[in-house]
Symmetry: C2
DNA sequence: AAATCGGTGTTCGAATTTCGGACACCGACT
DNA sequence: AGTCGGTGTCCGAAATTCGAACACCGATTT
């Protein structure tokens, strides 16, 4: 089964995201756009947050797929940041919505999700304890989140590469510290 | 219902058409490409010719939709030729296949189909008898078919606009003759 | 304060679509 | 003569999509 309907729902949502803020997108808008029954939406997804979760997860996986040979955490941060900034980014639409507090939590969840996904790959050949892995996720997620927060707050500077570099500088020490800790 | 699966099957077919000659495209190739059960193909389409028929019909309808205000038969011929040449053209792939005789008949059928579709619009506000309409379809279809035949045979010249103009010159007299005949 | 409105999320059963697994058939190739 | 790959068809089961309800909520209107 190839789930064309599910795919169409996702595409409609992304399309609508480019037309209006997420807070104004209803389930009805989505199903109207792709001409399916409202129940079909609920058959595939719990609710809109679940839809977002799946889209973001997919994009993260696609990204990791595209960079199978990430050699360093720094590169990983860069890639994760690219993910958050370059690729359309559902995250941003969420962030820009009205219910800021709610979606800040959600953005953080997404950051952790992305970073965790990445670290599964990045830590594959390095022996690091589970606790340290968790620490790495937290540290890097917070950095990523903070960067996105700042980047959006300061008016979305056009010079993304420089901004990414800045984030990398912030995070550069973290992986070394983690690996060092792991060696005791 | 939005028939995403059916749409996917069509898209897979068109995709495969750009990779290999139509005579080498099997139902299995199609369903493998879009990850659908073979029976699902047969649920939607009688066979591959029926699939082609539907694709071409749709493209013709889209074209007519895009040119709702065709003012003259000449313009119509131009549009129909554009349809046959500019828009990817399933017709051509058919034509280039091994079983030339079979598909020449089919190409002619398609030409007639397109021209009929067009003339329904073009003759809408002109009172022309059914016999004359049929004559117009035959004459213009043959011109279109002959043009495509010649165009392909002579190595698909790059200067399409000039070729279209040439076809229009060939056909220019036809509509006038038809309308004149209709006036008795 | 009550009523209306638009959206949510859920349930149900019916209808449609997709599926896997058969089958006979055919033409090409061994 | 037998194998192979493709076709077109059949079946019943499973999955998906549907329309029509329902209670619920929050905002807006009256």
């Amino acid at each position: 089964m190839a789930d064309f309907t599910k795919k169409a729902i996702k595409e409609s949502f992304i399309k609508l995201l480019n037309e209006k803020p997420i807070s104004k997108i209803s389930v009805k808008d989505i199903v109207t756009d792709c001409k399916v029954n409202r129940n079909t939406f609920y058959y595939h997804f719990q609710d809109i947050p679940a839809l977002i979760e799946e889209i973001v997860t997919e994009q993260a996986e696609e990204l990791i797929e595209a960079y199978p040979e990430i050699e360093s955490l720094e590169k990983g941060i860069e890639v994760a940041t690219e993910f958050a900034i370059k690729n359309k980014m559902v995250v941003f639409h969420i962030y820009n919505s009205a219910n800021r507090d709610l979606y800040e939590q959600y953005t953080m969840r997404l950051c952790k999700h992305v970073v965790t996904k990445y670290l599964e790959v990045a830590f594959k050949d390095v022996k690091v304890s589970d606790e340290d892995k968790e620490l790495a996720v937290r540290l890097i997620s917070c950095s990523l989140f903070g960067f996105v927060y700042d980047w959006l707050d300061s008016g979305m500077s056009e010079d993304r590469p420089a901004d990414i570099k800045r984030l990398c500088e912030v995070c550069r020490g973290i992986p070394d510290i983690i690996i060092e800790r792991s060696r005791n």
